[in-house]
Amino acid sequence: MNIPLKVDAIISDPNTNAQIVILKDEQNLELLPIWVGMAEGNAIRFALEGIASPRPLTHDLLKNFLNHLKVPLEKVLIHSMNGSTYFASLHLVQPPPEKKETSDKKTSTHPSEESEEITVDARPSDAIALALRMGVPIYVTDEVLHKKGSENLDAWLEKLKPTDFGPYDT
């Protein structure tokens, strides 16, 4: 079963300088912390705060790319974890290329009947950064959600001081 999650916050781990994305379920019962890199953390932070950069950043390019090609992103799914690494996938709906359906070389403009769902492997950080930009839901399998150690995070959060957050870094 897939559970929808919302991005609750993004915080910095003062010890490792890593960024941690905190995902919560709708009832605020379950927490899923995911450690991400600096660049991806900033990409998520930009989307969360609604900061638009004058030129498209990498995840904006991903979004523009999908929009230009008219390939809608349906959802992103954090589907498994191996050790401490989470695996996610992008779920896209690809209309079949119309060119191949017609015998001649001209591209027909009418939409085809069958569209194909395709999944693309991604890191959760990229998936989340893209989902926030495109306004699509983020899902996690309950298997992953119950495997992670949210107890550890609770303990870590208890000890967290305001000064641990550090300066805002772009």
């Binding site: 999908l66 090609l69 690809q94 290329p97 591209t107």
Partner: protein, 145 residues
């Protein structure tokens, strides 16, 4: 007039803490330096060195998306220099149509060598992705940047 460019290297400028990507024309006469951000410089250097990470980095994701959708990058055109910012366009072929996607120049650059490293015999640019820059950009002096 369009000039085909190759990525010749990535430099670090310690005084400004900045990364500079060096493009050079096919005849080795024209040089185009482009200042890029750190995450982008990382992406470019991984691609230049042919390093594959266990998990797809953001630009790998972009390449995987392009491949999965059976789209193909035609070329990248560094089209404009405005207020000290280079502008580039990615030209794609998708389902028989040509699609152009506007982007800042540094992203385009890091897509190219990855494609090259995937091709079995990267003899020249015709095997990989073509990077063009307009001739006008070529005539810039160092002070202009």
């Amino acid at each position: 007039m369009l000039v085909q460019m190759k990525v010749r290297g990535l430099m670090f400028d310690p005084s400004n803490n900045a990364y500079i990507i060096i493009l050079r024309g096919e005849e080795n006469t024209d040089v185009l330096p482009i200042w890029v951000g750190r995450p982008e410089a990382n992406a470019i250097s991984l691609a230049l060195e042919g390093i594959f990470t266990p998990r797809p980095m953001t630009h790998d994701l972009l390449r995987n998306l392009i491949n999965t959708m059976k789209a193909k990058i035609n070329h990248i055109l560094v089209s404009e220099l405005r207020d000290n910012t280079f502008y580039a366009v990615i030209s794609l072929v998708y389902g028989g149509n040509t699609v152009s996607i506007d982007h800042c120049v540094r992203m385009c650059r890091s897509l190219w060598p990855k494609r090259r490293s995937k091709s079995p015999a990267p003899k020249n640019l015709t095997d990989g992705l073509k990077i063009y820059a307009r001739k006008t950009l070529e005539n810039m002096t160092h002070d202009d940047v």
